[in-house]
Symmetry: C2
Subunit: 197 residues, 2 copies
């Protein structure tokens, strides 16, 4: 008995990740109560993201300008490439402010179950970057999941023969983590990767 317009919006919103029907309803009612200008601004920014955003032709991060602001600047000349699964992972690493090299976004991981093979990822493009950049180190920053590990091992086999140093992000106890509640696999990694003080 709700209005069709609202039901349609709720259906559209429910398609978004981590939005269930209840959240979608709350969002819809919220939008109805907002001033029209704010609702237009949201709708416009959703359209913009599809119209203006492209992939950087160097690192394949999402960007408004091509090459992206990282690849265009001084960092673009760096000899270190950090390989990530998605633009969201890149953004997370970027927020640390600690990495000064360039990135390479694979746009996924090797996953036989989901029919994703190396050809579906931006791997050839990573190897090609040697033509333009002097690469000394490739940091494989895929997730420490089975698929992320498989992808890292696959890439390491491709890159090592090119006399490029290949590294992997450290695994261990997260800052503030409780040893008591951590899974065995993380604890095992933290033992194996222990460092001298």
């Amino acid at each position: 008995m709700l209005s069709n317009t609202i039901n349609h919006l709720i259906r559209e919103l429910s398609k978004l990740p981590s939005i269930g029907e209840k959240t979608a309803m709350r969002m819809a009612y919220h939008l109805i109560a907002l001033p029209k200008s704010q609702v237009q601004s949201l709708a416009q920014s959703i359209m913009d993201v599809k119209d203006k955003v492209t992939l950087c032709s160097v690192c394949f991060n999402i960007t408004d300008i091509n090459p992206c602001s990282i690849c265009q600047g001084d960092r673009g000349k760096s000899d270190t490439i950090c390989v990530v699964e998605t633009p969201a992972h890149l953004a997370a690493l970027e927020r640390t402010g600690k990495f000064k090299g360039t990135y390479h976004v694979l746009h996924g991981v090797i996953s036989p179950l989901r029919n994703i093979s190396p050809e579906n990822l931006k791997m050839k493009e990573l190897i090609k970057r040697r033509q333009y950049n002097k690469i000394k180190e490739v940091i494989l920053a895929t997730n420490p999941t089975r698929e992320g590990e498989t992808t890292a091992i696959y890439l390491a086999k491709l890159i090592k023969p090119l006399s490029i140093k290949v590294t992997r992000l450290a695994q261990g106890i997260p800052r503030g983590g409780e040893i008591e509640y951590l899974d065995e696999s993380t604890l095992q990694s933290s033992l194996e990767g222990r460092r001298e003080l």
Copy 2:
């Protein structure tokens, strides 16, 4: 270092209720990966909700047509009005499929702390409905919170002198609830409202 377009979208999405920055980011990346037609469909339905949706001039529910589909049909002639705080509460009651009368949406509750007085709510409009409807019962379906109770008591004082029956939704143990874990106030209500089998 993310694109401005995406940052702007993330900011816009974060303004929505129950959407934190991380969820907004996940939503933004999801939108970028969607086909353009689907993104347009979402943006359009957000615009539509502001352009097409109004308040029903009888019950003040949100609606595409005025009066709304409930007030226009046979139910509009019902002698029972169920008073709710918000359109979302109306939708929840409507999903039970058990209520056959009309509604009246207050669009809030009396709240001195948030500076909401009876004049800011659709209360006058509720009383006015007597001019057109023969009202026998008003069900006060505001939340069993302090503000909801205050609003119900206020309305009861207004409506009872008009020789209209005033009722309140039953309070008690929710279906599937665990007596062991319920708060004392709910248990007290369930005791007070106990029914003979």
